[in-house]
Symmetry: C2
Subunit: 608 residues, 2 copies
């Protein structure tokens, strides 16, 4: 049996598995598996190098299934490679199986969750960058759909890959002509895709995606031009089963039992071939040992400092003693203060330009390979990457995100630049820790917490300089809070975070002069919230709670506190209740009801 | 004085105004105004047609300042055109002025808020499409920065414009080489931008952006190739002031008073020219009268129906009697059921393919011209357009967004396809109404409410078919709720929405058989919440409230209720508290604690 024959047989087996498992599950996307079966067979059983016994091997080539709805094909590939038992694929989409409807890293060979289209190439850029940083000869392959090339993020990723000359990155575009609901924009026009990838600086090969010798030839060209390579493959959706081939209306639709029988009749019986024998092992390679080389020094601040500046200092200091740390920035590093890191450690600094979706995708890819990426932009603009953040959580990605310039306290630039919904965006993210430091030391402490936390952490920083509250070595663990004012006579508790902590302290001073003692809590850990301290404070102050935050009413600190206290206290919630406008920072804090005088009034207004 | 001389003088005036107003404000972005001054002078005072007395004129060409940080240039243009008094520009960035740091439609000539980069071209596509739908000869111009071309959304918009042959759309790219923190990716390489736009199907002209005769020539080519036109203009950031020209570090930095004096010395005194005399009026045009032609018929459903299907029926029915309604869809119209509209009214249906950011941007552009766009995709994927939704709110855009397939109740497709954070995304959006129907009639009622509401509305729909609860003509106003079970003996209240209303009713039945009466509220209007009914119910049931929602804990119905009730009731919150996985819908509702049995247990667990 020639290699070509063997690969053809493997491809047929992949098709049969994909059809069987989706019919068994009663849902799923078989036709998109059939279009990519030949491309995937050649990739896994001739081109890629990996060891089926090692899911995490720095020597191995990596694979990202960007078109995540082709999950059955992926499970079939793993079964053929001997990674999972063949019988297990029939558990597809069951609650008890890790072979989910779209890939997630519950199955350890899956490095990132996919299924929201157009994200895989960014992750591939991150993985390929990590391989290069480690000096590995390994490559990264991303299998994409044609439909998902309509997502702008694909072109953000294409830019980044070309810009960095990632010749170890290959995008395989399965041009099967049909989207979910309609033919795609360019249908079978391979030249349209080729022109785009060329214009974005890639080497491009077009190929018939069902002719195995041609596919093998195309793969041989990968990386030869010193650029990332795009293989534009013309394929047929449903290929191999005459009555579904190239037909609209068969996306996300499994065959019925009788249709499956007919299809299997056309494909023939499961061809005999030992696919495992065709797996190519990688050449041995040991990645450099990365980690913490010593304690992270913290800065002793002497005067008012913006938390964004202290954050920048801390990430740079961390990077100097931890070779896993990478900084990414969306062309605002002189505002987020990632420029400190960029200046100190250029080799682990990534300017992603104004492309926040790609920034988060690259960060996820770097995290896959053990790096600890810190990605920063304005809090307002991180909303651009909401879907990528969501998918990062489903990837269990160990990434850190910083949103600077939060709230109306930025002042004159106006609402488009104010992050007023970022807490509501990050709090629902499963497992995400949300930290919001009120002073420079807290910012440094939050960076330390973020670095040591396994999983996603969001840090919210403030534009203006703020007074110092904490000593140099104060710890800021996730789930903690700081009680800044406290007496036995406290008549209410003010819960604040970030910029509003300073307003709360001022209000407490004013109230104190009037003879009203109040407790002040810095709830720097917005999530998890320090529910114990807050409940105790509410109880000890007669259940009178003011929450003040530079954020819209929904989804932020105020609702978190209301939920935690439900039934146990009155809560007055001061926050930005209308669409703000340009103005001076203090003017805006006052206009939108966040300043000390409003806090004083709220405390005075409680039912006694 | 020749036209060329006049335009040069106007450009110098624009430069002087931009420098003065930013120095006066003490913040802002003068250098980006200087690079675009010549392009803008030629556009406003020779190429574009508009009547300075009419901010909303269907005959007029439209202008979108995508590079929103050049706001001072825009205010200067309006002043020169006689739209606003020249003296008013010195109020830039003051709290009392509508001339904000980045443009917002508080100033009526600004049609959309900009300042989050890379969004203007999508809006331009929407406006140009609206002009074409209306049969206007008017054109749309979008002034873009080079840096923002790194945003993928630009290429989503480029695709859409080419696909639809929008020869009435022109993108002017101000290639001034410098971003905020670094030189841009392509610096002054105009060919790099040209190649990209060409590959995306545009006619491209490259030009020296400071040579007025060449600029005028370039503008003459707009639309001639039957394609959208991109003018790629090489410019110098800070042009005209020697000590800031082409220098990194001058983004977002006004001149100090002494620097301003030096700059004005170089630019000379304010040149004498009556710019107003150069404004070209449009040829008269009356847009077709659009509006409601009759009552919107509602469907009488006879059996279990998915809310997404009823939503699709309702939008199609609405579109048939209201010529303002447009449907947009991100290649999932057979899932959102926008395919009903597409089949009935193809001329007002827009397939945007898999490009959610562009979908929302186009919707905003259509709304600018008086259309009522309904844009739909999976609730999970609308997170892709979070930043665009945010900016739409700052644009006061009258758009309607539908997120289908909300929650774990979608079943086997897995978490990447489940919208579990969409309520937390839309609730903070200023002014946004959030509706979540529980049955087919409610879905139709919510569409009717959305159509008649001026402003953004989000409608959340469910994948599986659900039982019928309401009669055909039941109204579902914003801010309302429906009390579905009620007695004098109610011992608790269950607040639910969408799919969980059915679980709540089942739980109420079971509890009733055990002798425990409970109230059930369908809180279909998640925002504004019907606080009055909820407070009354809590009071009448001894302050025992269960909230059950198919959403993550933060930012959804549960926290909304907790905030509303703060201090007045115990709240048990049933929601999805971990990262879900694939499984059958009912299996997942049960596994994640949302099903009737969990509600029963929650009611029984209250402190008495």
């Amino acid at each position: 049996m020639t290699k070509i024959e063997a690969l053809q047989r493997i491809a047929t087996r992949l098709r049969i598995h994909s059809l069987r498992m989706t019919t068994q599950a009663g849902s799923g996307h078989p036709t998109t598996c059939l279009s990519a079966a030949d491309l995937a067979a050649c990739l896994f059983f001739d081109e890629m190098r990996f060891d089926p016994r090692k899911a995490n091997d720095p020597a191995a080539d990596e694979f990202v299934l960007s078109k995540g709805h082709a999950a059955p094909l992926l499970w079939a590939l793993y079964a053929e490679a001997g990674i999972i038992p063949l019988a297990s694929v029939l558990d597809l989409r069951k609650f008890t199986s890790d072979l989910e409807g779209h890939p997630t890293p519950r199955m350890p060979w899956v490095k990132v969750a996919t299924g929201s289209l157009g994200q895989g190439l960014s992750v591939g850029v991150g993985i390929a960058l990590a391989q290069r940083l480690d000096g590995a000869k390994a490559r990264t392959f991303v299998l994409m759909g044609d439909g998902e090339c309509a997502e702008g993020q694909v072109w953000e990723a294409a830019n980044a890959a070309a810009r960095r000359g990632l010749c170890n990155l290959c995008a395989i575009v399965d041009v099967n002509r049909l989207g979910q609901s309609d033919p795609t924009m360019h249908e079978h026009d391979r030249r349209a895709y080729a022109a785009k990838f060329k214009a974005f600086g890639w080497d491009v090969v077009t190929v018939d995606g069902h002719r195995i010798p041609k596919i093998l030839e195309a793969y041989k060209r990968i990386g030869k031009a010193g650029k990332p390579t795009a293989i534009i493959a013309k394929t047929v959706k449903g290929k191999g089963v005459s009555f579904i081939e190239d037909l609209n209306g068969w996306h996300g639709r499994p065959l019925k039992t009788d249709e499956l029988a007919r299809a299997l009749g056309e494909l023939g019986c499961l061809p005999d071939v030992d696919a495992k024998a065709f797996v190519k092992k990688p050449r041995p390679f040991k990645a450099p040992r990365r980690g913490r080389q010593g304690p992270v020094p913290r800065t002793a601040y002497a005067e008012k400092t913006a938390t964004r500046l202290a954050y920048g200092n801390a990430v740079a200091a961390l990077g100097k003693v931890d070779s896993r740390v990478v900084a990414l920035d969306g062309d605002v590093k002189n505002s987020t203060y990632h420029d400190k890191f960029f200046a100190a450690i250029p080799e682990r600094s990534i300017q992603v330009y104004i492309a926040e979706q790609n920034m988060v995708g690259i960060a996820v890819g770097l995290a896959v390979k053990g790096f600890i990426p810190f990605a920063a932009t304005f809090a307002a603009f991180i909303t651009r990457a909401h879907d990528q953040v969501r998918m990062a959580a489903y990837s269990f990605a160990n990434i850190k995100v910083c949103g600077s310039h939060a709230g109306v306290s930025i002042g004159e630039d106006g609402p488009s630049q104010m992050g007023l919904e970022d807490l509501a965006m990050f709090r629902p993210v499963p497992g995400c820790v949300v930290l919001y430091p009120a002073d420079a030391s807290a910012a440094e402490g939050c960076v330390a917490t973020a670095a040591d936390h396994q999983g996603m952490v969001y840090i919210r920083t403030t534009r203006p300089a703020t007074a110092l509250l904490y000593g140099r070595d104060e710890p800021f663990p996730a789930g903690g809070s700081k009680v800044l004012r406290r007496s036995e006579r406290d008549e209410a508790v003010i819960i604040a975070a970030g910029i509003t902590v300073h307003e709360a302290l001022q209000a407490a001073g004013e109230l104190g002069r009037d003879g009203t003692a109040v407790r002040v809590i810095d709830a720097y850990s917005v999530q998890p919230l320090d529910v114990g301290t807050i409940l105790a404070a509410a109880k000890e102050t007669g259940g009178k709670v003011v929450v003040v935050e530079d954020h819209y009413p929904a989804g932020g600190l105020g609702e978190a506190v209301a939920e935690a206290l439900a039934g146990r206290a009155q809560v007055a919630h001061l926050c930005v209740r209308e669409l703000p406008r340009s103005g001076k920072p203090q003017e805006l804090l006052d206009a939108y009801g966040l300043s000390a005088q409003h806090i004083v009034a709220a405390v005075k207004s409680f039912r006694r």
